[in-house]
Assembly symmetry: C2
Homo-oligomer: 95 residues x 2
Amino acid sequence: MVEPHQTNVVLVGKKDIMNYVLAAIRLFNDGAEEVIIRARGMNICKAVDVAENIKNLFMKNTEVAGVEIYSEELEDPKGKKKRVSAIEIKLVKKQ
Amino acid sequence: MVEPHQTNVVLVGKKDIMNYVLAAIRLFNDGAEEVIIRARGMNICKAVDVAENIKNLFMKNTEVAGVEIYSEELEDPKGKKKRVSAIEIKLVKKQ
C-alpha cells in the first residue's frame, strides 16, 4: 500500500467514471511515471473500469503493473466498526 | 488467464456472497491447492469481498497469490459488441 497523501493517487468515488479517467491522464501528463487507482466497496468495479479504459482506449502506452486487494476497518457514525474491501491498481507508463 | 472450464474456478454472479465463499471453501476441502475467483462488471466488487472473506474469516490458511484485471468483449442479444471489465483473484493455501 502507498502512503495516503501521495499525490499520484486517484481515489474512485461516486462521480462518473470519466472524472477519474481524466484525473489519471492528467497525472501522467504532469510527469507521473505511475498512478494508483484506489477504491473501496461498491466503487471497486468502477476502479477496474477506470484502469481498463485508460490502458485500452486513452493511453495505450500504459499498462497495469500490479493489483492488490485488502480490507480496511472503518467506523460508521455510530462508532460501530465495519470491514470494507478495497483495491489498488497500479498503472505505469510502458518502458 | 486460466482455462474456461478448469474445475477450480468460482464464477461470481448474482447470488449472495456466501454462496461463492462456500463454493471456494468446498474446492479447497476437496484438495484444490489454488482456487480462482472470477467475476465481470458489477460483480467485481463481490469477487473481492468473497476473497477477503475467505482469507480473513473462514480459511486463514489461504492467501491471495495474484490479482489480474482484463477486459472481455461480449455480444448482447442484438449482436452489438460491448467491452466488460473482469477480475481474477487467485487464492492459494499458505505453505
